[in-house]
């Protein structure tokens, strides 16, 4: 097994501290509104992978992985501009702050262009994740696989904590999604821009929900 594969396994592990456990990215509200249930949970996660992750997070991460210096700072700002909903934009930057804090504590050096973006409040998680995974020695493909798996695992983990699904059931569901994760984790073209409209989860992200347990 290569060193970068071992590192990818470590960085995709649910025990890796990056703050993502506190985000449900709309799932909590969608469950409360009855738009998704135990039976359709895997479909929700698959749809999120095919839309939000594939079209937005994957492209944002790849830019973070590939770029450096001022070009990287510009990329953070571009991603910031492409997030028109203020709340989502703010929460994405807050999630990024947690990853930067983790990197500092681990003494993993983030590119100065990323540090500059974080200082200006645009240190979005998906881009920072690309910077961080490159700094940890992963290849871009491994970084994308790590990100996709983390996104799916995070959604299932939220469902477990919300009492909608069981820890064993979600592992079965995650196994079933493995081929999709592998299929989607392909590097985008260098000139791709993040885009995406995911009506159900976008609306869920914006809707206030009384008694919310997750940040979003």
């Amino acid at each position: 097994m290569s060193l970068s594969t071992i590192r990818a396994m470590q960085l995709a592990d649910s025990g890796f501290p990056s703050g993502v456990f506190a985000y449900s990215w709309g799932l909590e509200t969608a469950l409360a509104d009855g738009q998704v249930c135990k039976r359709t949970l895997t479909d929700w996660v698959a749809a999120e992978l095919r839309t939000r992750w594939l079209r937005f997070d994957r492209v944002a991460l790849a830019g973070g992985f590939r770029l450096a210096g001022e070009a990287l700072t510009d990329w953070f700002h571009t991603v910031d501009t492409l997030m028109p909903v203020e709340r989502n934009r703010r929460e994405s930057a807050e999630a990024g702050d947690a990853l930067f804090a983790s990197a500092r504590a681990l003494r993993i050096s983030m590119d100065p262009g990323a540090e500059a973006a974080q200082a200006s409040g645009t240190g979005h998680f998906s881009v920072a994740h690309g910077v961080f995974l490159r700094a940890c020695g992963l290849t871009l493909t491994e970084a994308l696989e790590t990100s996709a798996l983390s996104m799916a695992r995070g959604a299932f983990s939220a469902a477990v904590r919300l009492g909608v699904s069981g820890a064993i059931t979600t592992q079965r569901d995650l196994l079933a999604l493995a081929p999709l994760l592998s299929e989607l984790a392909v590097a985008p073209a260098p000139d791709d821009l993040p885009s995406g409209f995911m009506p159900l989860s976008d609306v869920a992200l914006m809707r206030p929900h009384e008694g919310r347990l997750f940040i979003n």
Partner: protein
């Protein structure tokens, strides 16, 4: 110089927020620049309560939600709190102290040493006088154990001197302080303890 980070944990309803509310007045009188991070289990009710208390500028109270895991956000993955504390220090360079209030949890909760320099565990007499005997990491490992609502002891059938003695015994002599936070009793002693053990001022 960075601000000292002090965790305040304990079961739901033990008086963590009440302790912080009472401490803020004493800390302000002694010139200690303070900020607070709350980890509400649901929304940001504790943060709002502290903001409305008026003892601290509202922006010095930040809320971090715990994703249904009050122990995870202070122990297994403290990065959200670390980021919030880093941000507070950047916004207020002269801070002496950041208090991090855990969402209510059980006797097994502990703070990550990556997150805090020192931590306080708060229990109350109404939870039962057997809590110290049950031990648990919160009781045993906290740098300071606070037993709150001491005035309720006669009303809930608790022999308070005995509870205090048992708590001191199971902790091997580590600090235990009684409080009645709603009346401000014992709070000066808690602040003095922090000044002596953590702040050195």
């Amino acid at each position: 110089m960075t601000a000292a980070r002090v965790g305040i944990g304990g079961p739901v309803g033990s008086g963590k927020t009440a302790l912080i509310e009472a401490m803020l007045g004493v800390l302000a009188e002694t010139g200690i620049e303070t900020a607070v991070i709350t980890n509400d289990l649901v929304t940001d009710e504790d943060a709002e309560r502290l903001r409305k208390g008026g003892k601290l500028a509202p922006d010095r109270v930040r809320a971090v939600q715990a994703g249904a895991c009050p122990h995870t956000v202070i122990r297994e993955d403290p990065t959200l709190n670390m980021a919030a504390a880093d941000r507070l220090e950047a916004d207020y360079p002269g801070l002496d102290l950041i208090l991090l209030e855990s969402g209510g949890d059980n006797l097994a909760s502990t703070f990550s040493p990556n997150l805090v320099d020192y931590w306080i565990f708060v229990i109350d007499v109404a939870g039962g006088d057997d809590i110290p005997r049950k031990k648990g990491p919160g009781i045993l490992q906290a740098n300071l154990l606070v037993i709150n609502k001491a005035d309720l002891a006669p009303h809930v059938g608790v022999d308070f001197p005995r509870m205090l003695a048992e708590a001191t015994e199971v902790r091997g002599g580590s600090a235990v302080l009684p409080t009645v936070c709603r009346k401000g009793e014992g709070v000066v002693e808690v602040v003095e303890h922090l000044r002596r053990e953590v702040l050195f001022k």
